[in-house]
C-alpha cells in the first residue's frame, strides 16, 4: 500500500520527497532491527544445527549468479561487464523484500525459522563476489581484492546486519528487550515508511528501463520466479518449515539494491548501473513484494504436497 502510494506520487510527478537523511535512517534502522532480531533467535538455537544450513545457503548464493550470467550473456546479448554486474545483483539479496516476506507470513500465522536474518547476512556477499569474478573472467586485468573485500564486507549493510546479529546473539533476549520499544514495536511502521520511499525511488527507475528494452523486463520477472523455485527446493533440502522455504525462496528471488550497486560501481565500473538497478529496483522489487511473495509461498505448499516429509 505505502509502496503504491510512493509509486503513484512519483509517477504523478508529485513534489513529495523524503529527506535523504530519513532514507538513510530508515535503512540503518531496518538493517539493525532485522539483525538484532535474528541474533536473539540465533542465541536460542544450537549452532551446530544451523551451521549446515548456513553452508547450504552460501552455496546457493554462489550458484545463483552463475545461473543468471549465461542467460544475460546469451539471451540478453549483454556485455560481459553488464551481465556479470546484473548477475551479482540478483545473486545477492534485498533486506526489504525479506522484511515484507516475513511480515506476510506473520500476518497469515505461518511459522518460519526465526533465525533467518542470519541467512540474509550470509547471502549478501557471495553473489556479489561471484558477480565480480564473472566480470574478470578471461580478462588479464587484476582485481584489487583487498580493497574490494573491504568494500564488500565493510559496506553499510553487511556491517549493520552482521553487527546486529552479533549484538543480538551475545546479548540475548534479556539484553535487547529494553530496546524493543525502538527496534521491534516500531518495525512495521518504519517498514511502511521505507516502502513509501522505495515506491518513490522505484518509480523513478522505470524511465531508465524504457531504454533498457524488453529483455530486462522479462528477466526481472522470470528470473525471480526461477530463483524462488530453487530457493524453495534448497529450503526443503535443508529441512526448513514451509514458511522458511517461502522466505528462502523470496531471498533467492530478491535482488540487492544497497550492497551490490555500491560494490559493483567500484569493482565493475564499465557496467552500466542503470541496467542493473533499473531491473532490480524498477521491476524485481515491486514484483516480489506484490505478486512474488504469495506465489513463492504457494511454491512451498506445492513442494510440500509433492514431497511430504
Amino acid at each position: 500500500m505505502f509502496f503504491l502510494l510512493g509509486v503513484a506520487a512519483r509517477l504523478a510527478k508529485s513534489d513529495l520527497k523524503l529527506p535523504e537523511a530519513l532514507y538513510e535512517t530508515l535503512s540503518i534502522y531496518l538493517l539493525l532491527a532485522i539483525g538484532l532480531k535474528g541474533g536473539i533467535e540465533l542465541a536460542r538455537q544450537p549452532l551446530l544445527q544451523v551451521a549446515p544450513q548456513a553452508i547450504g545457503v552460501i552455496l546457493m548464493g554462489c550458484a545463483l549468479p552463475m545461473l543468471a550470467y549465461p542467460i544475460l550473456r546469451r539471451l540478453g546479448g549483454l556485455s560481459q561487464a553488464n551481465a556479470a554486474s546484473i548477475a551479482g545483483h540478483y545473486g545477492s539479496v534485498s533486506v526489504v523484500t525479506f522484511a515484507v516476506a516475513t511480515a506476510y507470513l506473520v500476518k497469515r500465522n505461518i511459522a518460519f525459522e526465526s533465525y533467518m536474518p542470519l541467512f540474509v547476512a550470509l547471502l549478501e556477499v557471495p553473489g556479489i563476489v561471484v558477480g565480480i569474478l564473472l566480470a574478470r573472467l578471461h580478462q588479464n586485468r587484476d582485481i584489487a581484492w583487498p580493497a574490494l573485500a573491504h568494500e564488500i564486507f565493510l559496506g553499510k549493510s553487511v556491517v549493520l546486519l552482521g553487527g546486529g546479529l552479533l549484538i543480538g546473539w551475545v546479548s540475548g533476549p534479556a539484553g535487547i528487550d529494553p530496546m524493543g520499544g525502538l527496534f521491534f514495536d516500531l518495525f512495521k511502521g518504519v517498514l511502511a515508511l521505507f516502502l513509501l520511499e522505495m515506491g518513490l525511488v522505484a518509480a523513478s527507475r522505470i524511465a531508465d528501463l524504457r531504454r533498457a528494452g524488453w529483455f530486462l523486463l522479462g528477466f526481472g520477472v522470470i528470473i525471480p520466479i526461477i530463483f524462488a523455485g530453487i530457493g524453495v527446493c534448497v529450503g526443503r533440502a535443508m529441512g526448513l518449515s514451509i514458511g522458511g522455504m517461502a522466505v528462502l525462496g523470496a531471498l533467492a528471488a530478491s535482488a540487492s539494491y544497497i550492497a551490490a550497486p555500491a560494490a559493483m560501481r567500484i569493482a565493475i565500473p564499465e557496467a552500466n548501473p542503470t541496467l542493473s538497478i533499473g531491473a532490480a529496483l524498477g521491476i524485481t522489487f515491486p514484483f516480489n513484494i506484490t505478486l512474488g511473495i504469495p506465489l513463492y509461498l504457494q511454491f512451498a505448499h506445492w513442494l510440500e504436497q509433492l514431497l511430504p516429509r
Binding site: E20, V201, S204, D208, I258, I266, P269
Partner: protein, 100 residues
C-alpha cells in the same frame, strides 16, 4: 594585499568516486580539498540524490597549475569513460601560497 595565482579545479561526480578521488588527488599534488553533496543533471541523466546510487558530490581543489592539470587529466582518463563526471578549472587568487 599581495595575492598569488592558483588554480581551482572543480569535479562534479557520483559520490562513489569520493574516496577514490581523495586518495588520487593527494598523490597528484593537492594539499587539500572540499566536498559538498549536490544534485544535478547532465548528459547521462538526472541525479536527484534521492537514493544512495543517485548521489553526487562536488569536489573543489585549490592547487598549483601543474597539480590541477595532472589531476584533471587523471580524472579524465581514469573515470570519465565509466562515470558521470563534470570538471572545470578557474583562476583564483590566494593569500597564503604555501598552503595550496
Amino acid at each position: 594585499m599581495q595575492t598569488f595565482e592558483k588554480k581551482l579545479l572543480v569535479v562534479i561526480c557520483e559520490s562513489a568516486l569520493e574516496k577514490l578521488l581523495v586518495r588520487d588527488i593527494k598523490r597528484l599534488g593537492a594539499h587539500g580539498y572540499t566536498v559538498m553533496d549536490v544534485r544535478g543533471g547532465g548528459a547521462h541523466s538526472t541525479r536527484e540524490a534521492d537514493w544512495e546510487g543517485n548521489r553526487s558530490i562536488r569536489m573543489e581543489i585549490i592547487c598549483t597549475i601543474d597539480a590541477a592539470d595532472a589531476i584533471a587529466e587523471h580524472v579524465l582518463n581514469k573515470y570519465c569513460a565509466n562515470f558521470s563526471v563534470s570538471m572545470f578549472l578557474a583562476d583564483v587568487a590566494v593569500l597564503r601560497p604555501e598552503k595550496f
